[in-house]
Each structure stands twice: as structure tokens, then as C-alpha cells.
């Protein structure tokens, strides 16, 4: 059952096209994350769904009702903003109940809903305070509460954690996930933070210049990115890319990059790799084995340039095939700069893209 459905949505600001014939179906109870760098149209899409921006073309359905021309309040949505957007002159309680009072809901019902929301979010002690007397995390909790009291089917989050410091962000991230598990509402969540996207989402829509590049569950996005953009955008440090040419020899396929030939016979290709085809080989830093080659693995030698110990992990920057690449290994394994390492690759989890179309092969 679809909860939110976006059909052929276009949005132009004058001559500038922000969204072009975008389609998106979101299931009931699904947590969908719109992920992309700033200016990719993800917040614009969310504002269109909320009804805060008038669409130029196309339709929006929420709970199988065409809401394309409806006011935000009539769409059955609650929204949480990056800057919290709490009304500064009202107490927390007033902030929570404002929308309900505007809707002329009986006071008893308002009290009940405010009580329930403040219990879920554990903000009962804050009800009499003004937003200026709250910390960032508390403010965002109140902002979530304001969406909660509306008793709606769809929650919209517009980068809700971006204004918080790293520690609070990870705490609230867990809380939002817990909230979703207990409420089972549909949630659409806009972020530029891939960790938030990967941890929270049932499905991620990676966006670039108004187009959804890939819509899939987090593990698929991470392990089998659909194109070069998604591959480079997800993962930190970023995937290592090697531009080369396909070669076939003795029944095995290789990607030749400068003087190095990567054996990609075990790569699960969708279409046969043609010899001479220009491709980009993508290897995640954590998918490279260092001095752990088993018998039969192709081994490449490389020299450590820089070592970045991060506690849990250790990040090595190496030169291979004339370019720099990063490798992530366990934190206790140390390789001082200058040491020689033997690398082997698991091509089953690698990615190969066509060099010109940049799509996954």
C-alpha cells in the first residue's frame, strides 16, 4: 500500500528546472531518506510534498488522495525543520498545541495529545519553558513533538539533525529510529549525511540535480551503486576509482590500469565485459585485504604513504598503478609510512562502471 506517491513531478523557478518529471512511491510505514549534496533538489521535493511549494507539473498523492492543490495543513503531514522553527514567544506547551488550537480541536483532546507526545519524547519537564531556555537537542525534540501531536500519517524531516553537534546527532538519530519503530508512520527524511541515511532508511533515494540516481535499500546502495556518482557519494573515505581498459587472457578478464592488471573474473557482471572497453573499477577501502592473500589470489605490491590511525580503524594511503588509494584495516594493525604491503581484492564486492555512461556494468 503506497502512502505517498509522487507522479511526474516537475518544478521550475522561471527558466530554472529544479525537478523534472520525478516519480517516487513510498510504502506505508516506510522510512525513506532523500540523500544528496546541497542544491540537488531534495529539500525542494520535500517542500513540494508538504505543500509549501507549488508544483509546476505532476501530481502528489498522500494516502491515495490527490493533494496536489491542497494546503499543507490538509495533507495529513507533520514536518520537522533543520532550524527547529519553534515559535520563540510561546512556551513548549503552546508550541505543541498551536496547530491544534488553530484547527479548533477541543481543549481536552489537545491536552491528551500534548501529554502523549511529551511522554513519548520525554519533554514533560520542559513544557512551561520557552524555546530560548532549551538546548539544541531539546528544541529538536519539541519540534518532533509538534509533528507528533498532529496525529498524521506522514512525517517529513528536513535535515533535522544538521544543526546539532556530533554527539547529540548520533543520540537523536537513534531516537528517531526508535520513534519510527514504535509509531510505524511513513517518514520522509532529507539529509546530506550518508551515515544518517544508511542507519535510518528502509530505502534511500540518492539525488543529483533533481534526478533520483538510485532508489534502493541501504545495503544495495552501498554495495552495488548504480552509477559512478552514487558510488563516489556514499562511503567515507570515498571508493577508490581506477580508470582502465578491459583485457581478456586465457579465459580470464582483467582491467588494466597503467602497469597493473586487476583480475575481475569473479566480478558478477550484468553484461559481458568487452575487451578494449574503457571502464572504471571501484574498490571500497574496506574491501581491500592487506597481507591476507589466500592461495590463488592475485597479489599487488604497494607502498604506504600515510597512515591515519582512527582508533577502531586504521586508514592507509597507498600508491598503486600510479595513483593514490585508501585502504581501511583494523585499528591494531599498524604500518608505518614506507612499509611495503601486499594487497588482494575481492572482486565479488567491487563495482565496475562504463567509463562513458558511468553506469554499473
Amino acid at each position: 500500500m503506497t502512502s505517498v506517491s509522487v507522479r511526474d513531478l516537475s518544478l521550475n523557478f522561471g527558466a530554472v528546472t529544479v525537478l523534472d518529471k520525478l516519480n517516487l512511491d513510498i510504502d506505508h510505514g516506510e522510512f525513506l531518506v532523500l540523500l544528496g549534496s546541497s542544491g540537488c533538489g531534495k529539500s525542494t521535493l520535500l517542500n513540494c510534498i508538504a505543500g509549501l511549494l507549488d508544483v509546476s507539473e505532476g501530481q502528489i498523492y498522500i494516502k491515495d488522495r490527490n493533494v496536489t492543490w491542497e494546503e499543507p495543513k490538509d495533507r495529513g503531514i507533520g514536518m520537522v525543520f533543520q532550524s527547529y522553527a519553534l515559535y520563540p514567544q510561546m512556551t513548549v506547551e503552546k508550541n505543541l498545541s498551536f496547530g491544534l488550537q488553530v484547527a479548533k480541536i477541543p481543549q481536552a483532546e489537545i491536552d491528551k495529545r500534548v501529554k502523549r507526545a511529551s511522554e513519548i519524547l520525554q519533554i514533560q519537564p520542559l513544557l512551561k519553558r520557552k524555546p530560548s531556555e532549551l538546548s539544541g537537542g531539546q528544541r529538536q525534540r519539541v519540534a518532533i513533538g509538534r509533528a507528533l501531536v498532529r496525529d498524521v500519517d506522514v512525517f517529513l524531516f528536513d535535515e533535522p539533525l544538521s544543526n546539532l553537534d556530533a554527539k547529540l546527532r548520533s543520540e537523536l538519530r537513534v531516537e528517531i529510529k526508535r520513534l519510527h519503530q514504535s509509531l510505524k508512520n511513513t517518514m520522509i527524511y532529507v539529509t546530506h549525511d550518508q551515515i544518517e541515511a544508511l542507519t535510518l532508511a528502509d530505502r534511500i533515494a540518492v539525488m543529483k540535480s533533481g534526478v533520483i540516481q538510485q532508489l534502493a535499500d541501504p545495503m544495495t546502495i552501498y554495495n552495488a551503486p548504480e552509477n559512478l556518482f552514487v558510488a563516489g557519494f556514499i562511503g567515507s573515505p570515498s571508493m577508490n576509482f581506477f580508470r582502465g581498459e578491459v583485457e581478456a587472457k586465457e579465459g580470464r578478464s582483467f582491467v588494466r590500469v597503467g602497469g597493473v592488471a586487476f583480475d575481475v573474473t569473479s566480478y558478477p557482471t550484468r553484461t559481458r565485459l568487452q575487451p578494449g572497453q574503457k571502464v572504471v573499477l571501484g574498490l571500497r577501502p574496506e574491501h581491500v585485504k592487506v597481507d591476507e592473500a589466500r592461495d590463488g589470489d592475485a597479489v599487488h605490491q604497494a607502498v604506504v604513504d600515510i597512515e591515519e590511525p582512527m582508533g577502531a580503524d586504521n586508514l592507509l594511503w597507498l600508491s598503486l598503478a600510479g595513483q593514490s588509494m585508501s585502504v581501511r584495516i583494523a585499528g591494531q594493525r599498524r604500518y608505518p609510512p614506507g612499509s611495503t604491503v601486499h594487497l588482494s581484492f575481492d572482486m565479488a564486492v567491487a563495482s565496475i562502471f562504463d567509463a562513458s555512461s558511468e553506469n554499473r556494468l
Binding site: A50, K73, A85, Y87, P88, F98, R150
Partner: protein
């Protein structure tokens, strides 16, 4: 490793008392009579003297009798303080045929300034709010026209406005003058409010819309409570501007409705009889008192308003 580290710490600790004794320590001393302070305070004193000296002369003169003024020592304090000139300026000075002093002009000015200020601010704040938050079709064109209006010299528009007011049947009345002041305050006030509302976080407006608030609910419940500082600024601008207006007062009203400024001019510039400097000074101070009081009272409110508005939502 551990041993070496602790050794080096100990040696550093040993050396520290000498090091502290040798060099400067703690808070850096500040000299009162530095070159910087002399320039700052010197300039401030000169400038305030420049502004306060005329006021001093005016107050002193207004408290003297005419014989004492004729002595010619304008800086000397009065030997014999008299409030006669103040009473005369307020209640007895003659302009034309009327001899009831500035009081008539004062009440005229009040009856002009209060409605003009309230109406112009009320309309302009809604204008600014609509322009900043509700991007209606033609908003930019409307705003451009309004701003151009601010740059057209008043003199050009006087005669057309006289005709318009005459056709409306309000020429020469206080109502007509209030309308004129309201209209002429519109461009600058709308600009002021638009910029202020545009500076408020847009997400607040969006949140209110999701909460179901409409145009007026958002204006009264969300925007107004956050806008005290800008309302005070607008009020200062309008009260002083309208109170000090002379041109419109002369052109658009009849003598019995002359505002205080016009009446002051008529008293001071009357050519008949003896020039009563003390009465003139008192009348001038009385006329200027209202903007002064507005500055003093609302200046404090203004600062408080800014402080309250600075709290981030």
C-alpha cells in the same frame, strides 16, 4: 617511556617559578590616559558641546526676562528665573488673530501624528509581511513601484495631491493631512518591514503553515510578537517625521488646523512688535520636546526589543 615522560614533567615544573617571576603575568594593565582614549573622549566631548551648547543657550534665555536678555550675555545663567515666557508660549502667544499660544498647534499635531503613525505602521507592516512571506504574483513589480515612490521629490506631488484631496472633500482638514502622511510613510516603512520579516527564519513561517495558520493568524500570532524592535523603529521614524513636518502642514491644512511646527514658525517669524526671544526659545523647546521624549523613552525600549529579538528560535 613512562619514566622519561614523568621526568620531563618534573623538570618543567621545577623551572616554572623562575619563568613566572621573570616575565609579565596575568592581566595586561591598561593605561587610562592612552593616546587612544584621549582622542576618543576628546572627540566625544567636543561633539557633545557642539550639540548641547545651543540647547543650553535656549534654556537659559527662555528663563530670563526681556530686560535681562537685552544685556546681551547669552551664556550667563538667569539672575532671576521666570517661567513667564513658557506660559506665554504655551497659552498666550499670538499667531494671526488667535492668541491662545502653541497649545492649539500642539493638540493639532497630536491629532495628526497619532492616527498617521498608527495607520501607516499597521498598513506598512502587513504590506511588508505579505511582500516578504507570501510571494504573490507581481510582488516584485509592486515593491519596485513602492520604492520608486520613495525617491520622487515631494514638491512634484503637492499640487496633484491638493486636487485629489479637494475632490475627496477632505482638503484643509486633519483627515486629509493624516491620509497624506500615511501615504508618504508607506514606501520607507514597507521597505523596513519587508526587510525585517525577510530576515526572520523562513522555516518559522513554513512551520506555521503546516500547523494550519493562515495569513492573519501567522501575522498576529507568529510575526507580530517577534517584531517589537522593528515596530519601535518604525514608530520613532514616523512620530519624529510627522511631528517635525512643516511643508504638508502648511499646504494641506487651514490655519485653525496648523500643526505645532507651522504655528511655531508663525510665532517666531511674526514681524510686528518686539521680538520676544525668551518666548521664542520656550516655544521652540516645547515643539521639540515631543520627539525628544520619544527618543528617550523608546530608545530604551528599542535596545530591550533588540535583546529580546536576538534570542534564536
Amino acid at each position: 617511556m613512562d619514566k622519561i615522560a614523568s621526568n620531563s614533567m618534573v623538570s618543567a615544573y621545577d623551572a616554572s617559578p623562575d619563568r613566572l617571576a621573570a616575565g609579565p603575568r596575568g592581566r595586561k594593565p591598561r593605561r587610562r590616559l592612552s593616546r587612544r582614549n584621549i582622542i576618543i573622549y576628546g572627540t566625544l566631548i567636543v561633539v557633545s558641546l557642539y550639540y548641547l551648547l545651543p540647547l543650553y543657550v535656549m534654556i537659559m534665555t527662555s528663563l530670563k526676562g526681556m530686560p535681562e536678555i537685552r544685556v546681551g550675555n547669552i551664556f550667563a545663567p538667569p539672575l532671576e528665573i521666570t517661567f513667564e515666557p513658557w506660559v506665554k508660549a504655551w497659552a498666550e502667544a499670538c499667531t494671526g488673530l488667535n492668541c491662545d499660544g502653541l497649545s492649539r498647534g500642539f493638540w493639532n499635531s497630536v491629532r495628526i501624528t497619532v492616527p498617521s503613525t498608527i495607520i501607516s505602521i499597521a498598513v506598512a507592516s502587513v504590506n511588508g509581511y505579505a511582500l516578504a512571506n507570501w510571494r504573490f504574483k507581481g510582488a516584485d513589480l509592486f515593491f519596485t513601484i513602492l520604492i520608486i515612490g520613495a525617491f520622487i521629490p515631494y514638491q512634484v506631488m503637492i499640487y496633484p495631491i491638493v486636487i485629489v484631496l479637494r475632490e475627496m472633500g477632505v482638503y484643509g482638514t486633519l483627515t486629509g493631512l493624516v491620509i497624506v502622511h500615511t501615504i508618504f510613510g508607506m514606501p520607507i516603512l514597507t521597505l523596513l518591514f519587508r526587510n525585517y520579516f525577510a530576515g526572520l527564519p523562513e522555516e518559522l513561517f513554513k512551520a506555521a503553515r503546516v500547523d494550519g495558520a493562515g495569513f492573519w493568524t501567522i501575522y498576529f500570532k507568529i510575526m507580530l510578537p517577534m517584531s517589537l524592535p522593528i515596530f519601535v523603529v518604525a514608530m520613532i521614524l514616523q512620530v519624529t517625521g510627522i511631528w517635525n513636518d512643516f511643508l504638508f502642514g502648511v499646504v494641506f491644512t487651514r490655519p485653525e488646523y496648523y500643526p505645532m511646527t507651522v504655528q511655531l514658525n508663525n510665532i517666531v517669524n511674526s514681524v510686528q512688535g518686539v521680538k520676544e526671544y525668551n518666548v521664542n526659545m520656550a516655544a521652540t523647546i516645547l515643539t521639540g520636546a515631543v520627539p525628544l521624549v520619544v527618543y528617550f523613552v523608546s530608545g530604551r525600549l528599542f535596545v530591550r526589543g533588540i535583546a529580546a529579538g536576538a534570542v534564536k528560535g
